[in-house]
Protein backbone atom coordinates (compact mmCIF):
# COMPACT_ATOMS: atom_id res chain seq x y z
CA UNK A 1 0.00 0.00 0.00
CA UNK A 2 1.05 3.55 -0.67
CA UNK A 3 1.74 5.79 2.29
CA UNK A 4 2.57 9.48 2.51
CA UNK A 5 3.55 11.58 5.53
CA UNK A 6 5.94 14.34 6.55
CA UNK A 7 9.10 12.90 8.02
CA UNK A 8 11.47 15.29 9.77
CA UNK A 9 9.92 18.24 7.90
CA UNK A 10 10.13 16.58 4.46
CA UNK A 11 7.18 15.01 2.64
CA UNK A 12 7.82 11.36 1.89
CA UNK A 13 6.02 8.61 -0.02
CA UNK A 14 6.48 4.93 0.74
CA UNK A 15 5.27 1.60 -0.56
CA UNK A 16 4.82 -0.78 2.39
CA UNK A 17 3.01 -3.92 3.49
CA UNK A 18 0.09 -3.00 5.81
CA UNK A 19 1.55 -4.77 8.85
CA UNK A 20 4.79 -2.77 8.90
CA UNK A 21 5.27 -0.84 12.13
CA UNK A 22 6.36 2.78 12.10
CA UNK A 23 9.46 1.69 14.02
CA UNK A 24 10.54 -0.66 11.24
CA UNK A 25 9.82 1.88 8.53
CA UNK A 26 11.81 4.64 10.21
CA UNK A 27 14.82 2.42 10.77
CA UNK A 28 14.65 1.28 7.16
CA UNK A 29 15.18 4.95 6.29
CA UNK A 30 18.41 5.02 8.25
CA UNK A 31 16.88 6.75 11.29
CA UNK A 32 18.77 4.71 13.84
CA UNK A 33 17.83 6.90 16.78
CA UNK A 34 14.51 5.05 16.80
CA UNK A 35 15.48 1.94 18.72
CA UNK A 36 14.18 -1.59 18.93
CA UNK A 37 13.57 -2.17 22.62
CA UNK A 38 10.76 -4.19 24.12
CA UNK A 39 8.44 -3.75 21.12
CA UNK A 40 5.46 -3.95 23.46
CA UNK A 41 5.14 -0.34 24.61
CA UNK A 42 7.06 -0.74 27.85
CA UNK A 43 10.49 0.89 27.50
CA UNK A 44 10.13 4.07 25.41
CA UNK A 45 13.30 3.48 23.34
CA UNK A 46 11.26 3.79 20.15
CA UNK A 47 9.62 7.12 21.07
CA UNK A 48 8.99 9.54 18.22
CA UNK A 49 6.76 12.60 17.94
CA UNK A 50 3.68 12.36 15.70
CA UNK A 51 1.62 15.51 15.20
CA UNK A 52 3.25 16.96 18.27
CA UNK A 53 2.53 13.99 20.55
CA UNK A 54 5.09 11.51 21.84
CA UNK A 55 4.14 7.95 20.86
CA UNK A 56 5.72 4.51 20.81
CA UNK A 57 6.57 3.76 17.19
CA UNK A 58 6.60 0.02 17.98
CA UNK A 59 2.87 0.17 18.71
CA UNK A 60 1.91 2.18 15.66
CA UNK A 61 1.46 0.73 12.21
CA UNK A 62 3.18 2.83 9.58
CA UNK A 63 -0.19 3.03 7.80
CA UNK A 64 -1.57 4.97 10.76
CA UNK A 65 0.91 7.77 10.02
CA UNK A 66 -0.77 8.69 6.73
CA UNK A 67 -0.94 12.47 6.38
CA UNK A 68 0.77 13.11 9.72
CA UNK A 69 3.97 14.89 10.82
CA UNK A 70 6.54 12.48 12.18
CA UNK A 71 9.69 13.68 13.93
CA UNK A 72 12.63 11.62 15.14
CA UNK A 73 15.69 12.57 17.19
CA UNK A 74 17.60 13.22 13.95
CA UNK A 75 15.46 16.33 13.43
CA UNK A 76 16.63 17.98 16.66
CA UNK A 77 20.10 16.49 17.16
CA UNK A 78 21.98 19.45 15.69
CA UNK A 79 19.71 22.19 17.01
CA UNK A 80 21.46 24.51 19.44
CA UNK A 81 18.66 24.73 21.96
CA UNK A 82 18.47 20.95 22.30
CA UNK A 83 22.19 20.91 23.00
CA UNK A 84 21.39 22.13 26.54
CA UNK A 85 19.08 19.18 27.04
CA UNK A 86 21.56 16.69 25.57
CA UNK A 87 24.19 17.96 27.98
CA UNK A 88 21.86 17.42 30.91
CA UNK A 89 21.16 13.80 30.04
CA UNK A 90 24.78 13.06 29.22
CA UNK A 91 26.31 14.69 32.29
CA UNK A 92 23.65 14.35 34.96
CA UNK A 93 21.55 11.44 33.77
CA UNK A 94 24.07 8.77 34.74
CA UNK A 95 23.63 7.39 31.25
CA UNK A 96 25.63 4.21 30.62
CA UNK A 97 24.87 2.60 27.27
CA UNK A 98 22.95 5.58 25.87
CA UNK A 99 20.25 3.46 24.28
CA UNK A 100 17.40 5.27 26.03
CA UNK A 101 18.57 8.83 25.37
CA UNK A 102 16.93 9.46 22.00
CA UNK A 103 13.57 8.26 23.34
CA UNK A 104 13.96 10.48 26.42
CA UNK A 105 14.84 13.45 24.25
CA UNK A 106 11.78 13.00 22.05
CA UNK A 107 9.43 12.68 25.02
CA UNK A 108 10.96 15.86 26.43
CA UNK A 109 10.67 17.61 23.07
CA UNK A 110 6.96 16.77 22.87
CA UNK A 111 6.46 18.11 26.39
CA UNK A 112 8.34 21.34 25.74
CA UNK A 113 6.47 21.89 22.49
CA UNK A 114 3.22 21.97 24.43
CA UNK A 115 4.25 23.50 27.79
CA UNK A 116 6.66 26.44 27.88
CA UNK A 117 7.95 25.87 31.42
CA UNK A 118 6.80 22.51 32.72
CA UNK A 119 6.70 21.86 36.43
CA UNK A 120 8.60 19.04 38.04
CA UNK A 121 5.38 17.02 38.23
CA UNK A 122 4.68 17.52 34.52
CA UNK A 123 8.20 16.41 33.56
CA UNK A 124 7.96 13.27 35.70
CA UNK A 125 4.57 12.38 34.25
CA UNK A 126 5.64 13.01 30.64
CA UNK A 127 8.78 10.87 30.96
CA UNK A 128 7.13 8.06 32.96
CA UNK A 129 7.03 5.93 29.81
CA UNK A 130 10.79 6.06 29.18
CA UNK A 131 12.81 3.49 31.08
CA UNK A 132 16.58 3.49 31.55
CA UNK A 133 17.48 -0.18 31.86
CA UNK A 134 21.08 0.43 32.86
CA UNK A 135 20.71 2.69 35.81
CA UNK A 136 17.02 2.86 36.78
CA UNK A 137 17.93 6.06 38.61
CA UNK A 138 15.52 8.97 38.95
CA UNK A 139 15.66 11.50 36.17
CA UNK A 140 17.76 14.63 36.75
CA UNK A 141 14.65 16.79 37.01
CA UNK A 142 16.27 19.99 38.38
CA UNK A 143 18.81 19.92 35.55
CA UNK A 144 16.08 19.32 32.97
CA UNK A 145 14.26 22.37 34.32
CA UNK A 146 17.50 24.36 34.18
CA UNK A 147 18.04 23.28 30.58
CA UNK A 148 14.46 24.28 29.75
CA UNK A 149 15.14 27.79 31.03
CA UNK A 150 18.33 27.97 28.96
CA UNK A 151 16.43 26.82 25.89
CA UNK A 152 13.97 29.67 26.41
CA UNK A 153 16.81 32.17 26.91
CA UNK A 154 15.87 32.69 30.56
CA UNK A 155 19.06 31.59 32.23
Amino acid sequence: MKLSFTLNHKKKIFEIPPNRTLLDLLRSQGLWSVKHGCETGGCGNCTVVVDGKAIYSCLMLAAQAEGKRVETFESIRELKEYGFLKEVFMHYGDIECGYCVSGLMMSTKALLDSIVEPTEEEIVEALAGNVCRCTKKPLPIPYIMEATKKMRGKW
Partner: protein, 292 residues
Protein backbone atom coordinates in the same frame (compact mmCIF):
# COMPACT_ATOMS: atom_id res chain seq x y z
CA UNK B 1 22.24 -4.05 17.99
CA UNK B 2 19.84 -5.64 15.54
CA UNK B 3 20.70 -5.77 11.85
CA UNK B 4 19.13 -3.06 9.76
CA UNK B 5 16.94 -5.52 7.90
CA UNK B 6 15.20 -6.71 11.06
CA UNK B 7 11.46 -6.43 10.88
CA UNK B 8 8.99 -7.07 13.63
CA UNK B 9 6.36 -9.66 12.87
CA UNK B 10 3.15 -8.23 14.24
CA UNK B 11 -0.17 -9.03 12.55
CA UNK B 12 1.66 -11.34 10.19
CA UNK B 13 -1.36 -12.15 8.00
CA UNK B 14 -2.55 -8.59 7.53
CA UNK B 15 -3.14 -7.88 3.86
CA UNK B 16 -5.68 -5.06 3.73
CA UNK B 17 -5.92 -1.60 5.34
CA UNK B 18 -8.93 0.63 4.75
CA UNK B 19 -9.54 4.26 5.68
CA UNK B 20 -13.28 4.91 5.30
CA UNK B 21 -14.49 8.50 5.42
CA UNK B 22 -18.05 7.88 6.54
CA UNK B 23 -19.99 5.73 8.97
CA UNK B 24 -21.89 4.11 6.09
CA UNK B 25 -18.65 3.17 4.35
CA UNK B 26 -17.30 1.76 7.61
CA UNK B 27 -20.37 -0.35 8.27
CA UNK B 28 -20.32 -1.65 4.70
CA UNK B 29 -16.71 -2.78 5.19
CA UNK B 30 -17.54 -4.42 8.51
CA UNK B 31 -20.53 -6.20 6.95
CA UNK B 32 -18.13 -8.32 4.98
CA UNK B 33 -16.97 -9.60 8.33
CA UNK B 34 -15.71 -13.10 7.97
CA UNK B 35 -14.16 -12.99 11.40
CA UNK B 36 -10.90 -11.64 10.03
CA UNK B 37 -11.68 -7.92 9.80
CA UNK B 38 -11.15 -5.60 12.76
CA UNK B 39 -11.40 -1.90 13.52
CA UNK B 40 -8.36 0.11 14.50
CA UNK B 41 -8.14 3.55 16.07
CA UNK B 42 -5.23 3.85 18.51
CA UNK B 43 -4.22 0.24 17.92
CA UNK B 44 -1.89 0.01 20.91
CA UNK B 45 -3.31 -3.32 22.07
CA UNK B 46 -3.89 -4.71 18.59
CA UNK B 47 -0.43 -3.99 17.16
CA UNK B 48 1.36 -5.75 20.01
CA UNK B 49 -1.12 -8.63 20.13
CA UNK B 50 0.61 -11.09 17.77
CA UNK B 51 -2.84 -11.62 16.26
CA UNK B 52 -2.38 -13.86 13.23
CA UNK B 53 -6.10 -14.14 12.49
CA UNK B 54 -6.78 -10.59 11.38
CA UNK B 55 -6.42 -10.05 7.63
CA UNK B 56 -7.96 -6.62 7.17
CA UNK B 57 -8.09 -3.49 9.27
CA UNK B 58 -10.59 -0.64 9.09
CA UNK B 59 -9.03 2.57 10.37
CA UNK B 60 -11.85 4.62 11.90
CA UNK B 61 -9.81 7.69 12.79
CA UNK B 62 -11.11 9.42 9.64
CA UNK B 63 -14.67 9.47 11.02
CA UNK B 64 -14.13 12.59 13.16
CA UNK B 65 -14.91 10.84 16.42
CA UNK B 66 -12.19 12.64 18.37
CA UNK B 67 -14.11 15.22 20.41
CA UNK B 68 -15.36 16.16 23.85
CA UNK B 69 -18.42 18.37 24.07
CA UNK B 70 -21.18 19.27 26.45
CA UNK B 71 -24.67 18.96 25.14
CA UNK B 72 -27.63 19.76 27.41
CA UNK B 73 -26.22 18.23 30.55
CA UNK B 74 -24.48 15.33 28.86
CA UNK B 75 -20.76 15.12 28.16
CA UNK B 76 -20.31 13.48 24.79
CA UNK B 77 -16.92 11.88 24.16
CA UNK B 78 -16.21 10.58 20.67
CA UNK B 79 -15.05 6.98 20.53
CA UNK B 80 -11.62 7.74 19.06
CA UNK B 81 -10.79 10.42 21.65
CA UNK B 82 -7.34 9.59 23.08
CA UNK B 83 -7.09 8.94 26.81
CA UNK B 84 -4.62 11.85 27.16
CA UNK B 85 -7.39 14.22 26.13
CA UNK B 86 -9.52 12.87 28.98
CA UNK B 87 -6.61 13.67 31.30
CA UNK B 88 -6.18 17.22 30.00
CA UNK B 89 -9.63 18.50 28.96
CA UNK B 90 -10.78 21.16 31.42
CA UNK B 91 -14.40 19.98 31.47
CA UNK B 92 -13.38 16.38 32.16
CA UNK B 93 -10.98 17.46 34.90
CA UNK B 94 -13.71 19.51 36.51
CA UNK B 95 -16.62 17.11 36.39
CA UNK B 96 -17.28 14.64 39.19
CA UNK B 97 -14.17 15.66 41.14
CA UNK B 98 -11.97 14.72 38.17
CA UNK B 99 -12.66 11.00 38.48
CA UNK B 100 -12.68 10.39 34.70
CA UNK B 101 -9.35 12.18 34.23
CA UNK B 102 -7.87 10.21 37.07
CA UNK B 103 -9.22 6.94 35.66
CA UNK B 104 -7.65 7.69 32.27
CA UNK B 105 -4.31 8.45 33.95
CA UNK B 106 -4.40 5.24 35.98
CA UNK B 107 -5.52 3.14 33.00
CA UNK B 108 -2.30 3.88 31.12
CA UNK B 109 0.65 5.25 33.08
CA UNK B 110 2.61 6.02 29.96
CA UNK B 111 1.70 9.26 28.21
CA UNK B 112 2.92 7.76 24.94
CA UNK B 113 0.22 5.11 25.11
CA UNK B 114 -2.42 7.58 26.33
CA UNK B 115 -1.67 9.73 23.27
CA UNK B 116 -2.85 6.87 21.08
CA UNK B 117 -5.15 4.65 23.12
CA UNK B 118 -8.79 5.72 22.73
CA UNK B 119 -11.76 5.67 25.08
CA UNK B 120 -13.66 3.46 22.63
CA UNK B 121 -10.80 1.02 22.31
CA UNK B 122 -10.38 0.81 26.07
CA UNK B 123 -14.08 0.15 26.66
CA UNK B 124 -14.39 -2.43 23.89
CA UNK B 125 -11.40 -4.36 25.23
CA UNK B 126 -12.57 -4.04 28.82
CA UNK B 127 -11.52 -6.82 31.12
CA UNK B 128 -12.08 -7.59 34.75
CA UNK B 129 -9.65 -4.96 36.08
CA UNK B 130 -10.70 -2.05 33.87
CA UNK B 131 -10.56 1.21 35.80
CA UNK B 132 -12.21 3.29 33.09
CA UNK B 133 -15.13 0.92 32.74
CA UNK B 134 -15.63 0.86 36.52
CA UNK B 135 -15.82 4.66 36.57
CA UNK B 136 -18.19 4.75 33.59
CA UNK B 137 -20.45 2.34 35.47
CA UNK B 138 -20.79 4.58 38.52
CA UNK B 139 -21.39 7.60 36.30
CA UNK B 140 -24.14 5.71 34.44
CA UNK B 141 -22.51 6.41 31.10
CA UNK B 142 -24.14 5.11 27.96
CA UNK B 143 -22.80 4.41 24.51
CA UNK B 144 -24.14 5.36 21.13
CA UNK B 145 -23.69 2.78 18.42
CA UNK B 146 -23.88 3.55 14.71
CA UNK B 147 -27.55 3.58 13.84
CA UNK B 148 -28.53 5.86 16.71
CA UNK B 149 -29.25 3.25 19.35
CA UNK B 150 -28.19 3.76 22.93
CA UNK B 151 -27.34 0.99 25.34
CA UNK B 152 -26.95 1.36 29.07
CA UNK B 153 -23.34 0.74 29.93
CA UNK B 154 -23.71 -2.66 31.35
CA UNK B 155 -22.15 -3.07 27.92
CA UNK B 156 -22.75 -6.79 28.12
CA UNK B 157 -25.01 -6.55 25.12
CA UNK B 158 -22.44 -4.72 23.05
CA UNK B 159 -19.45 -6.67 24.30
CA UNK B 160 -21.15 -10.03 23.89
CA UNK B 161 -21.69 -9.24 20.25
CA UNK B 162 -17.89 -9.16 20.01
CA UNK B 163 -17.67 -5.53 18.99
CA UNK B 164 -17.78 -5.77 15.23
CA UNK B 165 -21.06 -7.62 14.95
CA UNK B 166 -22.50 -5.33 17.59
CA UNK B 167 -21.96 -2.27 15.45
CA UNK B 168 -19.65 0.71 15.52
CA UNK B 169 -19.15 2.45 18.84
CA UNK B 170 -19.55 6.15 18.06
CA UNK B 171 -19.48 7.95 21.36
CA UNK B 172 -19.73 7.67 25.11
CA UNK B 173 -22.40 9.76 26.82
CA UNK B 174 -21.80 10.79 30.42
CA UNK B 175 -24.70 12.50 32.19
CA UNK B 176 -23.30 15.46 34.13
CA UNK B 177 -25.09 16.12 37.40
CA UNK B 178 -23.44 19.27 38.69
CA UNK B 179 -25.07 19.91 42.05
CA UNK B 180 -24.31 18.16 45.32
CA UNK B 181 -22.83 15.11 43.59
CA UNK B 182 -19.61 13.53 44.79
CA UNK B 183 -17.35 10.72 43.66
CA UNK B 184 -14.63 8.58 45.12
CA UNK B 185 -12.20 6.00 43.83
CA UNK B 186 -9.76 3.77 45.68
CA UNK B 187 -7.56 0.92 44.54
CA UNK B 188 -4.67 -1.27 45.58
CA UNK B 189 -1.78 -1.23 43.13
CA UNK B 190 1.14 -3.68 43.53
CA UNK B 191 3.46 -1.19 41.78
CA UNK B 192 3.03 2.29 40.33
CA UNK B 193 3.02 0.92 36.80
CA UNK B 194 0.72 -2.04 37.23
CA UNK B 195 -3.03 -2.56 36.99
CA UNK B 196 -4.83 -2.47 40.34
CA UNK B 197 -5.43 -5.71 42.18
CA UNK B 198 -8.81 -4.26 43.02
CA UNK B 199 -10.47 -0.88 42.62
CA UNK B 200 -13.77 0.55 43.77
CA UNK B 201 -15.60 3.59 42.46
CA UNK B 202 -18.54 5.41 43.99
CA UNK B 203 -20.85 8.26 43.14
CA UNK B 204 -23.76 9.72 45.06
CA UNK B 205 -25.82 12.86 45.29
CA UNK B 206 -27.12 14.56 48.42
CA UNK B 207 -30.64 15.87 48.67
CA UNK B 208 -31.34 17.62 51.98
CA UNK B 209 -28.47 15.62 53.47
CA UNK B 210 -29.82 12.27 52.32
CA UNK B 211 -28.10 10.09 49.71
CA UNK B 212 -29.68 9.49 46.39
CA UNK B 213 -28.66 8.02 43.06
CA UNK B 214 -25.96 5.95 44.76
CA UNK B 215 -23.70 3.90 42.51
CA UNK B 216 -20.91 1.61 43.70
CA UNK B 217 -18.79 -0.51 41.37
CA UNK B 218 -15.82 -2.79 41.86
CA UNK B 219 -13.24 -4.50 39.64
CA UNK B 220 -11.81 -7.97 39.86
CA UNK B 221 -15.02 -9.77 39.04
CA UNK B 222 -15.38 -12.20 36.19
CA UNK B 223 -15.36 -10.62 32.72
CA UNK B 224 -16.03 -6.94 33.53
CA UNK B 225 -16.36 -4.74 36.66
CA UNK B 226 -19.73 -4.90 38.33
CA UNK B 227 -21.98 -2.64 40.33
CA UNK B 228 -23.16 -3.88 43.73
CA UNK B 229 -26.87 -2.91 43.94
CA UNK B 230 -27.28 -4.41 47.43
CA UNK B 231 -24.79 -1.89 48.84
CA UNK B 232 -26.26 0.98 46.82
CA UNK B 233 -29.76 0.29 48.16
CA UNK B 234 -28.45 0.26 51.71
CA UNK B 235 -27.20 3.86 51.51
CA UNK B 236 -30.02 5.21 49.36
CA UNK B 237 -32.19 7.62 51.37
CA UNK B 238 -29.83 7.64 54.39
CA UNK B 239 -27.34 10.14 55.74
CA UNK B 240 -23.78 9.38 54.69
CA UNK B 241 -21.70 8.63 57.77
CA UNK B 242 -18.92 6.31 58.89
CA UNK B 243 -21.59 3.90 60.09
CA UNK B 244 -23.52 3.71 56.82
CA UNK B 245 -20.25 3.49 54.91
CA UNK B 246 -19.14 0.53 57.04
CA UNK B 247 -22.49 -1.17 56.49
CA UNK B 248 -22.26 -0.65 52.73
CA UNK B 249 -18.71 -2.02 52.67
CA UNK B 250 -19.89 -5.11 54.52
CA UNK B 251 -22.72 -5.55 52.04
CA UNK B 252 -20.19 -5.37 49.19
CA UNK B 253 -18.07 -7.98 50.94
CA UNK B 254 -21.08 -10.31 51.09
CA UNK B 255 -22.16 -9.80 47.50
CA UNK B 256 -18.77 -9.55 45.81
CA UNK B 257 -17.74 -12.52 43.69
CA UNK B 258 -14.09 -11.94 42.78
CA UNK B 259 -12.02 -14.03 40.47
CA UNK B 260 -8.44 -15.18 41.07
CA UNK B 261 -5.59 -14.32 38.74
CA UNK B 262 -1.83 -13.78 38.74
CA UNK B 263 -2.20 -10.58 40.80
CA UNK B 264 -4.34 -11.87 43.64
CA UNK B 265 -6.35 -14.75 44.98
CA UNK B 266 -10.11 -14.74 45.27
CA UNK B 267 -9.79 -14.68 49.05
CA UNK B 268 -7.49 -11.65 49.06
CA UNK B 269 -9.72 -9.64 46.77
CA UNK B 270 -12.75 -10.49 48.89
CA UNK B 271 -10.94 -9.49 52.05
CA UNK B 272 -9.79 -6.09 50.77
CA UNK B 273 -13.05 -5.24 49.02
CA UNK B 274 -14.33 -3.70 52.25
CA UNK B 275 -11.27 -1.47 52.48
CA UNK B 276 -11.44 -0.03 48.96
CA UNK B 277 -15.19 0.53 49.10
CA UNK B 278 -14.87 2.29 52.47
CA UNK B 279 -12.13 4.53 51.12
CA UNK B 280 -14.10 5.39 47.99
CA UNK B 281 -17.21 6.27 50.00
CA UNK B 282 -15.19 8.23 52.55
CA UNK B 283 -13.82 10.30 49.69
CA UNK B 284 -17.42 11.11 48.73
CA UNK B 285 -18.13 12.08 52.33
CA UNK B 286 -15.03 14.29 52.61
CA UNK B 287 -15.86 16.04 49.38
CA UNK B 288 -19.43 16.62 50.49
CA UNK B 289 -18.26 18.00 53.84
CA UNK B 290 -15.74 20.27 52.14
CA UNK B 291 -18.39 21.75 49.91
CA UNK B 292 -21.29 22.04 52.31
Amino acid sequence: MLANNHQTRMLSNLTGYFRPKSTAETLALLQKNSGTILMIAGGTKLVSSQNDTVRELVDITGLNLDYIKEDMGVIRVGATTPLQKLVEAPIIKKMYNGIVSQAALLTQRSRMIRNMSTIGGELITTKSLSILYCVMLVLQAQVRIAGGEEFALAMNIFLNKKGVAGGLLMEVLIPYIRNYTYTGMSGIFPTQQSAPIILAGARLSLNKGLCENVKIAITGTEKVPQRIPAAETLIEGRRLSSETIAMAAERVYEAYKPMPDALASEEFRKEVSRLVVKKALHQCLERAEAEL
